[in-house]
Structures are given as C-alpha cells and as structure tokens.
C-alpha cells in the first residue's frame, strides 16, 4: 500500500544545516517530512506560531523546549491528529493537509505516545503485529471466508513483528500479555509496533520518560540503528543530555516560537536557548 507517490530524484539537502527556517522548507522538498510555516491556534491560544521544520530520512531530529512550548502539538500535526491553522505539512513532496491519521500510516509516518498506548488484552506479539495493519492486504470478506492468502499474509507480518521484537530486546516476553509488561518494556514495544509499519519516519513522543540510565542507553542504540536503516526519527524529549547525544539536528521551541535550530553543539551553546530553557 505504498501510496506516497513519486520518489522523485532528490534535490539533495546535504550541507544546508545552517539555513534559516524559511529557506529550509525549499531545500528539503522531495524526500523529507516537512512542516512549512505552521501556525496552530486553539481558540485564543497560539500553540505554534509560524514554525517550520523538516525531518529527513536517516537523521535524528530532536525537538526540545519547556513545557507548553508546542513540541507535542508539532508531533500531533505531523502525525495528522491536528490540522494546522495555517501552513502546510508535506511528505515526500505530497501535501498532507487533510490526510487523516490512518492515511499517515499508509504513507509511512509512525508514532509512539507519551503514555504507552498498548492493547493490554493482547500478547506482545499481537501488539507489534498490529503495527503492520497497513501492509495487510486481507479484506474483511476474504478474512471471514478464511482464504489461504489471508493466512499467508498474516503469518508473514507476525514473523516480521517477531523479528522486530527480538531486535528491540523483547524476545523474552513475546507471548506475554501486554498488560504484564514493565514500563521500559512497554516503551520499547511501542517502538516495535511503530517499526512494524515499515515507516519512512517515526515520531517518538518522550520515549525516555521514566527509563533508567541504562535503559536510556539502550534506547539511544535503538534510535541510532533506526536512523542507520534510513528512517527519519523525530525525538520529542525533555531529557536534553540524551537529545544532544543522539541527535543530528535539534530544534528548540519556546511558547510556540522556534528560538534555535542547528547541530547539537550550536543549540547547546546558543545564549537564547540557555536563557529560556537550559538554564545557566
């Protein structure tokens, strides 16, 4: 169900790390997930004010900022839960204006949630396999009638999910009911489910929340591996040390405005970022 349209030859985007926000949207065009000049208002509250950013395949892009700065709003816009008040979201050149959340899955945009949203009644394997929904070609009637192709396809998706689970370190819990998982296991299962979408981009909403130091190390390894597989990772996170360690680029928001965008070093040393967010 790969309906993301043309994978046109990329008008490459290497080496323009330093460009300001507006011009950036122009260069990322063809293979990136782009938010161009996004404003989002909720009633009188402006959650995002003319913010542009992009997520390229094979990069880790950190999105940081104080509480209420609009990080999660941006993530919800990119994943289709909200519609921008103005501005456009593009994926690989295709405008996603009113494309629903369900369509994002088919286009290849996966996400995880701040509070893990698992199906406690199902096994870990079933939870991860569900992520492959958009790759299942089984219609409802074909499934009812038990057509052989339905079984074949289902087994393949289960096998794929099982591999991913072993990869993220949940091999030991594969047949356990998901409501019996510990916190870190839940977080990693969410990532496995997102990867079962075979996404081009995965948006992680505070994946390090509640993890121990060693678990965060493992998470970092996962994120790098996902990036090296050519997937773009958006990392919305409070844990700034972690963000600066794993990200290729970092965008900082404050009360709905972008205050700095650049490499981790640039962002970390920016006086405005230090003043509003990092502290002295």
């Amino acid at each position: 169900m790969s309906s993301a349209g043309t994978a046109a030859a990329s008008t490459s985007s290497a080496g323009d790390e330093e460009l300001p926000a507006e011009s950036q949207t122009g260069v990322d065009g063809d293979d990136a997930l782009v938010a161009a000049r996004i404003t989002k208002r909720f009633g009188g509250l402006t959650a995002l004010d003319d913010v542009s950013m992009s997520l390229r395949p094979g990069e880790v892009h950190g999105l940081i900022g104080p509480n209420g700065s609009g990080k999660t709003t941006m993530l919800n816009l990119l994943s289709g839960y909200y519609e921008p008040t103005s501005g456009v979201i593009r994926c690989r050149g295709e405008q996603l204006g009113r494309a629903t959340v369900q369509r994002r899955a088919a286009i290849g945009v996966a996400r995880t949630f701040q509070q893990p949203r698992l199906l406690g009644a199902l096994s870990v394997l079933d939870n991860a396999t569900l992520g492959g929904w958009s790759h299942s070609r089984a219609g409802f009637v074909a499934t009812l009638l038990g057509l052989p192709s339905v079984g074949t396809g289902d087994r393949a998706l289960r096998a794929q999910a099982a591999e991913l689970l072993h990869g993220v370190g949940l091999g030991h819990a594969i047949h356990r009911r998901a409501n019996l998982l510990e916190h870190a296991e839940q977080r990693f299962l969410e990532i496995a489910r997102g990867l079962a979408l075979r996404p081009r981009f995965i948006l992680l909403d505070e994946p390090a929340g509640g993890l121990t130091a060693s678990e965060i190390e493992h998470l970092g390894g996962l994120i790098r591996t996902i990036r090296n597989a050519g997937i773009g990772v958006l990392l919305v996170e409070h844990h700034t040390d972690f963000v600066f360690r794993v990200c290729d680029r970092v965008t900082t928001l404050d009360v709905g405005r972008m205050i700095k965008h650049g490499t981790p070093t640039e962002v970390r040393t920016d006086p405005e970022v230090i003043r509003t967010y990092l502290g002295a």
Binding site: L122, A138, G146, L157, E163, H166, T225, I226
Partner: protein, 330 residues
C-alpha cells in the same frame, strides 16, 4: 492450545451426534434453538465482544429476518433456501442503514440508537397488519426434505451455526481481530496504525446484520408461528448478556454463555420460575467475580491459586537483529 482444540472436538462430536442420544424431541428442539440463537450471537459477538460496540437492538434485526422469511416462504411461496438468503441480505442492508448514522456515536448513544430501532421494528410489525399479520402473527413454513424432520432441521441450523463460528474465528485470529480489539480498547492506537475505525465498525456491523437475518429465518421456522410478542426487547438484552457473561474478546465464552442461558432455565424448572431474575443474578455474579467471563473462569481460578511469577529481565536490544529486521523492502 491443544487442550482447547480437544475440548472443541468433544463439543463438536456431542453436537453432531445429539439426535442419537437426546432423551426426547424437546431436547432436540432446545438444541436447535441454541444453535439458532448462536447464529445471531456469534455475529453480534464480533460487534460487542471484539469491537466493543454495545448494540442492544439486534432483536429488531432478528424480527426483520424472521418476518422476511415467513412472508417469502409462506404466502409468496419462494423456496425456503432463497428466503433464508433474502433474510440475510435484507438484514445486512438494514444493518448498513442503521450503522451508517449510528456507529459514529459514542458508546452510550449508539446503544440507545440500536434500542430505538428494536422498538420501532416492533411497532412497524404491529402497524402493518396486512403484511405481517399484526398482533395475530404469521404461520411459518418448515424447510423441505431432508430438513423437515426435527433431526434434519437441527443439522441444518447446526451447520449454519458452525459456519458462523468458523467465520468469526477466522476474523478473530487474524489482523482484523487485532484491529477490532484496538478499536475497542484504544481507538487512538487503532488510528495510529492505520485502522479505518468507522469503516471497520460498519463492515462488522453489516456482518452481524446478515447473521441476525439468517438466525431470524431459522428461528421463525423453528417456532413455526411468530407474533410481535416473539420478539420482545428482553430477547435483545439476553443476546447481549450471553456475550458479556461469556467474556469479551472470546468466541468459546459467549458460546458457553448462550448454551447455559438458553438451556438452564428450560431444563431446571425452578430456574424458569425465576425468569429474568436468574439472568440478572448470573450477570451480577459473573461481572463481580469473573469480569473476564465464564470462558476464562478456569484460567482465572488457576491463576489465583498458583500465581505465575514473572521474572524481570532487563530489556537488552539486539541491534544487529534489528538492523536485519529493518532491511525489508517497503
């Protein structure tokens, strides 16, 4: 898993040989009634037990199926087999028309909408006497040979019930089953992985309409005479309670629920006197003691007696394996 299939085999054998060991015609009639109810409840189970849509109006669909069959196979002299198909088809369409506006409503309002439809169908049957016989009712023809004997008819209904069970089992164990449970337990997750929530609900609801229509046809033929009083609203609640008592997200549980709730009051005379009180009491006991449903009652007891300790193993990603898993083509 093996224990389950063995149990299923035993139940299947018992059901298939019932005409040879049943004590009397009445028991056979009762078994056919259970099978007819299960045709409906099996389909409804996908709506209520899996998708979590609380339809309490399926008696309306049962009535439409029953009257369609009675009118077509009776006065219109259509072949009963075609009349059954027509009942199923019409109720599928009816389900579509009912589901389109109502399945977008949140749980409680959806339940109210389905209840309203059940009540309206009853009134419609009363009001259109020249078609439905009004309060006097309609005689329902039986099926032609070899289904005209009690045993023959029992096998027909049993076959249809087995077919429905098989269909729902196919759904439950595949991607659709996971998607439906996601709609029930976490719609946000369902959306995020790409499940088309409304359309999936609608498809399942239409399927439950078809099974309700088929159930109505064989139920009517089994009753041999139907009036609006055959389709009281309590019957709708009965279907619903069978599923809740059996347990959500299970097929065997609601099947056991259907058998117990249909057969016990008939076989144990004192329970029949209690009537709805019996259903109410059983519902209360199950919801309070085993909210997972009677389908899992042994599992739950076993777990209470001997709680399984889960060893805490720290997650340790295997990044090479992850890399390989990610290298599949989109």
């Amino acid at each position: 898993m093996k224990k389950k299939s063995a149990a299923l085999l035993v139940v299947g054998l018992l059901a298939a040989t019932l005409p040879f060991w049943a004590a009397d015609q009445y028991q056979l009639h009762l078994a056919a009634l259970i099978a007819a109810f299960w045709i409906l409840i099996g389909g409804l189970n996908l709506v209520v037990g899996y998708t979590g849509q609380l339809s309490i109006g399926h008696v309306g669909l049962l009535a439409v199926g029953a009257y369609t069959f009675a009118i077509l196979a009776g006065p219109e002299e259509v072949h009963p087999a075609l009349a059954v198909l027509a009942s199923g088809g019409l109720c599928g369409l009816f389900g579509l028309l009912l589901g389109l506006p109502s399945l977008r409503l949140p749980g409680f309002y959806f339940a109210m909408a389905t209840m309203a439809v059940a009540l309206i169908v009853g009134e419609f049957i009363m009001a259109n006497g020249d078609l439905t016989g009004g309060g006097i009712g309609l005689a329902v023809p039986s099926f032609p040979a070899p289904f005209d004997s009690p045993a023959g008819f029992y096998y027909l209904v049993l076959g249809l019930a087995a077919l429905v069970t098989w269909c729902t089992w196919n759904v439950a164990r595949r991607m659709w089953g996971r998607g439906l449970i996601a709609i029930r337990d976490n719609p946000v997750t369902a959306q995020a992985v790409g499940v088309p929530v409304f359309r999936a609900k609608l498809k399942v609801f239409v399927f439950s309409g078809i099974t309700a229509g088929v159930a109505g046809a064989v139920f009517a033929s089994l009753q041999s005479y139907i009036t609006p009083d055959t389709f009281v609203f309590e019957l709708s609640l009965f279907f619903f309670v069978c599923i809740i008592i059996g347990g959500r997200g299970s097929i065997v549980g609601p099947l056991i629920g259907t058998m117990i709730l249909t057969a016990l009051p008939e076989l144990v005379a004192p329970l029949a006197k209690l009537g709805n009180f019996f259903y109410g009491l059983l519902l209360l006991v199950v919801v309070l003691l085993v909210p997972e449903g009677i389908g899992r009652v042994f599992e739950v007891i076993a777990e209470r007696l001997r709680p399984r300790r889960i060893e805490s193993i720290p997650v340790r990603p295997d990044l090479d394996r992850l890399t390989r898993a990610l290298q599949r083509p989109r």
